[in-house]
């Protein structure tokens, strides 16, 4: 059972079987491609079509119901296929001698060359034989090259091979095989290609111009031939301009895509390099570690792979797309996204158990002067090179160092100083969180009245990062003082009740001296102002009463602005830096919490 369709061939109505039509169409396409470089190609193909139509119509008139496969094959035999023309003597330009059949034949196929896989000479996928045909080199060369790359580049050759395999179609029809072998790529051919395209574009536009001309003449003679030809030449110019712009745009697009893909690769490399040291800290040894690499590779790798494939296609000029490759890539990418979501959910659940704390009292020797000094311990812990998790996490050799330490300074209920350390952690279960909190190593040191606080604490390298944190509470008895080193103030995170004090405002410029010295009174904190500052203060006391205070929103910057221009200039830049760092820190710590 076959479907019969009606076609219009050279203005003749021909009933033809569906399959026969398919053969005829392919045949005519191959002829068009074959003659496309010939002058008057359209005329030649038109004549042939017209002849075929005549023969077919003759058949119908003699009583055939429709044109069958056999009829089409018969006409193909009598007309000849492009492969047969190769052997025919008449198909070369008169006067030029042809050294061989293949050469003369090469003149008539399009100068464009496309990269196809050569299924006829394949060993695996036909990629190497296709490359061989494309570059006119023995495919063995490429086979050896791929073998070397496969060993030398950690399987890079294999990957490249598969990319090419997926990205390129196999040359199955005769026309595709012609394109695969193509012509030698040289300057003349490139020029010819461009000219050919320009010509076809121009002829289309010329037709359009003619239509416009016919239209104008048909509508009324008042436009006359001048107007017609003016319009025609206008369209011709427009066509050239459009063709030029289109070509330029295409090249530009290709370059941009190439650039994006390179940047993407670099970003991916940096991203994975940054993640590498903390991978084991964040992900547990089971499912999460197993999921991590597939998720990362698929989510980032697949789009890059797709882009490379796209560029390869564009560069070798393949028009048709392999939809299975698209589906496969889409599926793999979706799989990567699913892995990522799974991983994210799993990791989030690892932080789900509430914060579990472990208390630890530090035995402090009461300072004889009644003044406790808080300083950052001298250690090599600096967090500024690699900021992960708000700069709180760093991996050094065999330990992970966490810098998430906060200080809370309060009034003591007793008449002595006391220091309490609270280690806390999150975890999947309460038990896990407890274990992790207990694992934290943290030791304060006291020398006379100075309390040294380490800037970070360590957890074992094979342990997990689950937002471990340390909070140190310093209790100051009434009537005693506490001095906070400026370095310590900047490094540690201070609790709200301390921060809200006007004299601790980081935006303030009073702090040219390197410490904050405050005394605990019955009714709250009182700051001991250094000598010189006190003098200035007394001069501006009236101003202070209006401006100085207290709410967290209001920056108490006025006293200094009034105090001295010189001072302001000196500290202006540091203030800006501090303001910026303060803003960043508070923003990120809000997000982190």
């Amino acid at each position: 059972m076959k479907k019969i369709i009606n076609i219009n061939l050279s203005s003749r109505l021909i009933p033809i079987e569906d399959s026969a039509y398919e053969i005829l169409r392919q045949y005519l396409d191959s002829l068009k491609r074959y003659f496309s470089q010939e002058e008057g190609a359209e005329e030649i193909v038109g004549d042939i079509e017209s002849r075929i139509a005549e023969v077919f119509q003759d058949k119908i008139r003699k009583g055939a119901h429709c044109i069958t496969d056999e009829d089409v094959l018969a006409i193909k035999t009598s007309m000849g296929t492009p492969e047969q023309f190769e052997d025919e003597p008449l198909n070369s330009n008169t006067g030029k001698s042809e050294p061989s059949g293949a050469e003369s034949y090469a003149r008539y196929i399009r100068p464009r060359k496309r990269f196809y896989r050569d299924g006829d000479n394949k060993v695996l996928g036909g990629v190497c034989s296709g490359l061989g045909a494309y570059f006119n080199v023995d495919p063995v060369v490429f086979r050896i090259l791929f073998a070397i790359m496969a060993i030398g580049l950690w399987g890079g050759g294999i990957l490249l091979y598969f990319i090419l395999w997926f990205a390129t179609p196999e040359a199955s029809t005769a026309a595709e095989k012609l394109e695969m072998r193509g012509e030698r790529v040289d300057l003349n051919n490139i020029k010819a290609t461009v000219q050919e395209e320009m010509n076809s574009f121009r002829s289309r536009m010329e037709k359009m111009g003619d239509d416009v001309k016919n239209f104008s003449e048909g509508r009324g003679k008042q436009f006359g031939k001048d107007a017609g030809s003016a319009i025609e030449s206008f369209f011709r110019g427009l066509a050239n301009a459009i063709a030029f712009i289109a070509k330029g745009f295409f090249v530009f697009l290709a370059v941009v895509l190439l650039f994006i893909s390179v940047v993407g690769l670099i970003v991916a490399a940096i991203f994975s390099a940054a993640l590498f040291p903390i991978k084991d800290l964040v992900f547990d040894a089971g499912t999460q570690s197993m999921l991590f690499w597939p998720a990362l590779t698929l989510v980032i790798g697949i789009p890059i792979l797709a882009l490379i494939m796209f560029l390869v296609r564009k560069m070798v000029g393949i028009r048709q797309t392999n939809k299975y490759a698209g589906y496969t890539l889409g599926f793999l990418w979706l799989l990567g996204v699913i892995f990522s979501v799974w991983l994210a959910v799993s990791v989030t659940r690892d932080f789900s158990a509430g914060r579990i704390s472990e208390h630890d009292d530090f035995r402090i020797t009461q300072p004889t002067s009644g003044k406790l000094v808080i300083r950052k311990a001298e250690d090599l812990f600096e967090m500024d090179d690699l900021n992960i998790f708000d700069g709180h996490l760093r991996v050094v050799d065999d330990t992970a160092i966490i810098g998430d330490i906060s200080l809370d300074i309060r009034r003591s209920p007793t008449d002595s100083f006391a220091v309490r350390i609270e280690k806390s952690s999150r975890g999947r279960t309460v038990a896990q969180a407890k274990t992790l909190a207990r694992q934290i190593q943290y030791h304060l040191q006291q020398q006379d009245s100075v309390l040294f606080i380490p800037s970070g604490f360590s957890i074992p390298r094979n342990s997990l990062y689950r937002n471990q944190r340390i909070e140190i509470t310093v209790l100051v008895p009434v009537g005693k003082s506490i001095v906070v080193d400026r370095e310590a103030r900047n490094h540690f995170h201070f609790r709200r009740n301390w921060r809200n004090e006007w004299w601790d405002d980081r935006d303030n410029e009073w702090d040219n001296n390197d410490q904050i010295d405050v005394k605990m009174n019955e009714d709250g904190w009182e700051r001991k102002v250094p000598q010189e500052e006190q003098q200035q203060k007394s001069q501006q006391d009236s101003l202070h009463q209006h401006y100085r205070y207290k709410g967290p929103e209001q920056p108490a910057s006025t006293p200094v602005e009034d105090s001295s221009e010189k001072e302001k200039k000196q500290s202006g830049s540091t203030t800006a830096v501090r303001l910026a760092s303060f803003l960043f820190e508070s923003t990120f710590s809000n997000i982190a919490q």
């Binding site: 008057g40 000849g80 052997d87 008449l90 198909n91 061989s100």
Partner: protein, 113 residues
């Protein structure tokens, strides 16, 4: 040395001359030309005839007109231009020279053997 190649080179020059001679006898339709060539046992694919005719027409050696046919749309009938006539005469002269020369040489060959 490829025998096919040599043969096709030989045929190439001759075919053009033959086609022109058929058209010289009067207006001809491409399938008529094919028929006549077949009668003379000089087979040619139709698919190669059309490009050749177009090429000769573009070289202004041939011209054509549309002739109404009994069976459907008009057909192209080719005839020779003045330029074509001159071209044909040149070819004919060359052919005769060549034929004589070849004949003479091959005869000599035969007599030596």
């Amino acid at each position: 040395m490829n025998i096919d190649n040599t043969q096709s080179q030989m045929r190439k020059g001759v075919l053009e001359f033959c086609i022109l001679s058929i058209i010289k006898q009067g207006e001809a339709y491409p399938s008529d030309i094919i028929e006549k060539m077949k009668e003379a046992k000089l087979d040619i694919l139709e698919g190669t005839l059309y490009p050749l005719l177009t090429r000769l027409k573009n070289a202004e050696l041939l011209t054509y007109r549309w002739v109404e046919s009994s069976s459907g749309p008009p057909r192209k009938y080719f005839s020779m231009t003045e330029k074509g006539e001159a071209f044909y005469l040149d070819l004919e002269a060359t052919w005769n020279e060549l034929a004589n020369a070849v004949h003479q040489l091959t005869q000599q060959n035969n007599t030596i053997q």
